[in-house]
Assembly symmetry: C2
Homo-oligomer: 505 residues x 2
């Protein structure tokens, strides 16, 4: 069908083909269990999530969808309402219902896409890019260190050392849960850096933090289960939960963390199984939870039989006050699945993160890893083990802290000068980003678009919210991970010119 | 709960705790959609698949489970019947219902576990192992080349070359679908070696074939969908489908492939969405489908709106007749998701495989990859690109074919001498294993256990069947991937002594 034409061209296909492709297997789904509107919503949600119905595409009218499926129009209305609440579809005034624009994807592209300064070709940045820095956009959107800051040389030597030592065994299958010596090294490293030492058997080596989140979803969530995420948040977590058929509820984050009363209210409405959060230097708000909120979440989890997924991506990068202990260090009831990314503090391309499982979930998480990809490659694991054992990470982190600390202070100073324009920023004390509040009348998405046209990339608040025309649009996430001092200054100067005119004092 | 004690000790916990742990969240699940027995079955299946209910553990009696859940005993009986049909539980005469022993895991351990000759420690094989070969078991169970056969030296040089060329960019995020130059190199390589050249945009680089299978499950299967697998088969595929909440049907493989009439009969009973198969040198039967069966499957798929997952692990290793074209090369209707593993023909620890998507599934599969782990690491992808572009794989494959061809013929010759004992083997023409039929009265699982005690590891047929006391038990899979000529001879000599006494001529 469509003779090998790319999917994106579907809207050019005859109307009847579109209908058949989009809804042809509905029959089976619609015959499944549950109320008719739920079955219909599930069937449409599945097609949205598989990409079969494209982001931004128009959905059939209530009348025609009702006719195709031989249901009452009110069933379709109810189904669309469910999908709208899930953020999967959105109404457009006067023109019907649309699939929401790329759920979760805008952010993934910003976080993980090709860097503006890098060539998509085979050899990294081209000479042109390096020779003409003025032509390169200032990239405040990428929240990951630039490749020049990676410990590449150290790893090159370690890879060679591992291959000289282990030969082909470094390229053989590894245990699904990870190479045992690395699991031990990580346990020791967590004891030194995070204040808790897990049983190495509870440490599972995963291919990056996103896989840690996804395995947690596989082990804990069944279709129809509910998961709760912070709002705003990086939307990759919600995407993993959605892909399990789980319902995802987003709870507004306040400056201290998630409000225990709000949590309780959500749980009253319907129990949920998992709360996902970043309690230190949250992405994108940069907030760190206070001690009371951390305690309250753990008590809530124990009382309600809920698990907590703690994503720790940059707690190591504190320039002022440390952000306090991790939830895992406080976890007395084995409620917390802790995921430590090595992407920000070392290099994302290692594709290595460590997951610390509550003992009772160890077997289920290891099985999820095996079913997902058998196991993570051994070579990088062996090199990381040497890297941690020799304390090379401490040298590297000290240098990152010093370098980023300067950028952090420079950015705060420059933003302080914009206070007269109504720009506000709460110093997070660490991390790789600032969460900049704009003055009223300066919508962040519009400003981000104008900034892009002026060669400055920033992430507007809506990249981290469920797609909705009424989502808050007040903040920009401004990351200094991938810039140097000169670019920082230049980019902030450009941003300042785009703000509404200064109010007279 | 259980204060951090390992999960395996649960049977030592007080009875009431066991019940609470195993069934405490049932309430929510049981309140879901569907008939009561289906909901109960789903709820138990989920706990089995998450590992919460352990393989081999006893399930509650019908009476007590009915009482706990306030349902009629006949509901529990019906739920247990569903689970039995799925191979998740099994009755034991006179003692009730049990969770089936490790679904899919016995084989995964054999295929991917630590090799008997390798140390679990940090430096590969220990001196002791190398110095005392007579003490090392003969490993006919591992179907993957031994590390001594890996192109380690070539890759060590390529990794260094990539890092000199690309620096930190080799450690940066890559596109989710893979590094574009590798996708192009794979497309060219497939044109040369497999007779079809996909659009490079349809090539997705995945972290090993299991991830390819899993992404296919994510993109295509929703809870309640049906998938069909070959029987017998490596059970990792079924595990990935089960993890999506799909129902998995296993269809007996005959010497020509899957029988189209049997396929049609299964589809009559209830439509399915995906057929997973290895049409060339199947694992474990070593069978290759004939041309007519390949055509019939593709026609069936087009007529019934079914997708085909083609797993190609060793088609490159032919010693006699080539096994014919891949299904993908014959796929006119964009029905085939083709997964090419580089684990057997290069090295499993690279964790690289190439998936070729039908154009209409490209977006859904790339999205599944992004949700699963953002993307595969760039360093190995860049090294593989150079490896393929320079034709180093052809040199390596020629050497593997020569070496394995000798082992293949030696194994067939030695087994021919056992024909008098009733041992039969059909020469597959290639691959890394033989599928050995034993004489009646010599159950394969018992022979495998005796062989293990005598220092010879083989995989009995039941490792590749749904756990069931009535599963066929007539064959051994005997892999020569990880042995040398001397070990092969020694191992077969030992196996011969374990066969029932020769019938007199």
């Amino acid at each position: 069908m469509a003779g090998g034409r790319p999917f994106a061209l579907r809207s050019e296909l005859p109307r009847d083909t579109v209908r058949r492709m989009a809804f042809r297997t509905d029959t089976a789904s619609i015959e499944g269990p549950g109320a008719a509107y739920e079955r219909l919503a599930r069937s449409i949600a599945r097609r949205i999530e598989s990409g079969e119905l494209e982001p931004g595409s128009k959905l059939p009218s209530v009348r025609s969808l009702a006719a195709w499926n031989a249901v009452n129009p009110s069933t379709v209305v109810a189904a669309y309402r469910v999908l709208e609440r899930e953020g999967l579809v959105e109404p457009r005034a006067g023109s019907g219902m649309y699939v929401a624009p790329e759920p979760g994807a805008a952010t993934a592209d910003e976080e993980f896409g090709a860097r503006p300064g890098s060539s998509p070709g085979r050899a990294g940045p081209t000479g042109t890019d390096l020779d003409a820095p003025e032509a390169t956009p200032v990239d405040f959107a990428t929240a990951s260190p630039s490749p020049e800051r990676f410990p590449t040389v150290a790893f090159k030597d370690l890879l060679a050392e591992v291959l000289d030592r282990d030969g082909g065994y470094a390229f053989d299958y590894q245990e699904s849960a990870g190479w045992p010596p690395l699991r031990e090294a990580v346990a020791d490293w967590l004891a030194e850096t995070q204040g808790f030492r897990p049983d190495p058997r509870d440490v599972i080596i995963v291919s990056g933090a996103q896989q840690g989140v996804d395995l947690c979803a596989r082990a804990l969530l069944a279709p129809g289960d509910r998961a709760l995420v912070e709002d705003p948040a990086y939307r990759g977590g919600a995407a993993a939960f959605h892909s399990r058929g789980a319902a995802v509820e987003a709870l507004e984050l306040d400056p201290e963390g998630l409000d225990p009363d709000a949590l309780a209210r959500v749980a009253e409405r319907r129990p949920f199984r998992l709360v996902s959060c970043i309690p230190r230097f949250q992405n994108p708000t940069t907030l760190s939870w206070n001690a009371e909120r951390k305690r309250a979440l753990l008590e809530f989890a124990a009382a309600r039989d809920v698990f907590v997924l703690e994503d720790d991506h940059v707690s190591d990068l504190a320039y002022e006050d440390a952000p306090g202990p991790s939830l895992k260090a406080l976890d007395r009831d084995d409620r917390v699945v802790y995921v430590k990314s090595f992407s920000k503090i070392l290099m994302p391309g290692l594709r290595l993160a460590a997951l610390v499982a509550p003992p009772r979930l160890r077997a289920a998480l290891a099985r999820a890893k095996r079913d997902a990809d058998v196991g993570t490659g051994g070579l990088a694991q062996r090199a990381l083990e040497l890297y941690l054992r020799r304390g090379l990470d401490r040298v590297h982190l000290a240098s990152l802290r010093s370098e980023y600390g300067k950028l952090y202070r420079a950015a705060l100073d420059a933003l302080a000068e914009l206070a007269g324009s109504g720009v506000r920023v709460a110093p997070p004390g660490g991390g790789l980003s600032l969460w900049v509040e704009l003055p009223p009348g300066a919508p962040a998405s519009a400003l981000a678009a104008r900034a892009k046209a002026s060669g400055v990339l920033v992430s507007p608040e809506r990249s981290f919210r469920r797609p909705s025309p009424t989502a808050p649009d007040r903040h920009l996430r401004l990351s200094f991970a991938a810039v140097d001092g000169a670019a920082l200054e230049r980019g902030l100067r450009i941003l300042a010119t785009l703000l509404p005119a200064r109010r007279s004092p």
